[in-house]
Symmetry: C2
Subunit: 256 residues, 2 copies
Amino acid sequence: MERSLKIILEEYFEAGLGSFLPHVSINNVVFGYDHPYLKVLVHRIPGQNAWMLPGGYIKHEEDLDKAVYRNLKLDGIENVFLRQIRTFGDAFRIPGLNETVDIGNSKYSEILRWASRRFVTVVYYALVKYHQTRLINSVISSESTWIDVNKLENMGVDHASIILETRKMLVTELQNHPVASSLLPESFTFNELRGLYEAILNRSIDRGTFRRKILKQGIVEQIDTRKDALGRPSHLFRFNEEMYLKSLAEETKFGF
Amino acid sequence: MERSLKIILEEYFEAGLGSFLPHVSINNVVFGYDHPYLKVLVHRIPGQNAWMLPGGYIKHEEDLDKAVYRNLKLDGIENVFLRQIRTFGDAFRIPGLNETVDIGNSKYSEILRWASRRFVTVVYYALVKYHQTRLINSVISSESTWIDVNKLENMGVDHASIILETRKMLVTELQNHPVASSLLPESFTFNELRGLYEAILNRSIDRGTFRRKILKQGIVEQIDTRKDALGRPSHLFRFNEEMYLKSLAEETKFGF
DNA sequence: TCAAAAGTGTTTCAGCTACACCCATGA
DNA sequence: TCATGGGTGTAGCTGAAACACTTTTGA
């Protein structure tokens, strides 16, 4: 296992350590919705037990946002809703990292030494359409998977707490903007939409109240009727692009 | 002027360029309230025309937050409410920076070269009690001053847009948490408190509605009566520390 | 005709808005 | 007694919550 990690790292850094900004990394919290579960994307590199958030580094003349898109693409993630959360910058946020440094002289040791220095990490969250996403095992990870956001087990370094903080931001985001559109397929039923809201907010919502509230916002429109399920068939809806963009751009207005 | 800038920079970097993380900087948007104006703190270094946000760099084994406090203290700013906004990371966010680089070999040139490379900047905002603050002209600036947040003129690089974005975050913050306590003196009248809300939200608020709303939250308590002004004397209030902390910690609950 | 799920009606309650009115003070 | 600002009362509106009711389908 040790050997394949070596190869993987050398491949990832093939352009040389000098092509990346030192001391700055990126981490992405990628949310997906698999009715009725809210999930988050994690990685595991060979020979390691703990799950990690996907991440990467920034090239010297690359915009921060561009670097995030590039890294997401390595996992097969495209067409996402992307937003920055914040930067985590405690000097020793990754406990004991320095102890793992090899003292050899190979390129591998050089990489390990580089990656084991102090890093400030800029965290983004991304919302993707779960069922339209095909994960790729990128150069840096041999295993990618979705885990239930309420069952974070075996997360490495400070990534569990990063996910928890990001989850709170997602709640705030949902209350201000109809971001659900980025997590659902083209068409969906009201039940699926409500399930998503319930998953994010982590509580149940009255069916009638929910329906009226969403309909009044005018962000969804009926397109069809589904006849495949048990019980009374439900209508299919899609997001009204125009209204959706409009309410995305709107200033949040509440309180005073 | 050129000469004093040289001295100043050499002083600031006396411990050597190696003591700071390269490519990462900090900028602070410091808000103060001088009834009825919301103000922001800016700097100007010798020989320069444009105003800049105060800022600095992070030491190798220094927490990000600690670096921010250290840099604020250089300006005489202490006891602040501090929150991270986001990180600005466009590769060329500072246009034409490289053109200013001298090609000499002095320590001064070395500093200029170091500071002219690509920087990712982590932006914080701070709320301070304007009338309890005495600005210090720190090593890095020869001029510090408060400017009206609605009259941003002659701001350098991308700092005007950073202030504008931060101002929006402040609005959101105010709607979720009673951050006004960090901007007002110990005691204040309802009119001053309302003036602050109006300054931040940039609109007028009904007197009666405002008073009832604040009183119901229980975050202020009456302490005295002021008799020095024209017209009917107003009551003086102070923030109730307990209730204030409680509502700071509260999850924002609105919308669904 | 029954279970299951979609969809609607309706009552109640809370909170905000706007504006009018009253109060306390100094000139 | 008037101007100036502080402080209160209240009618009307809006919208959320809760829950009961109706509708449409498959078995």
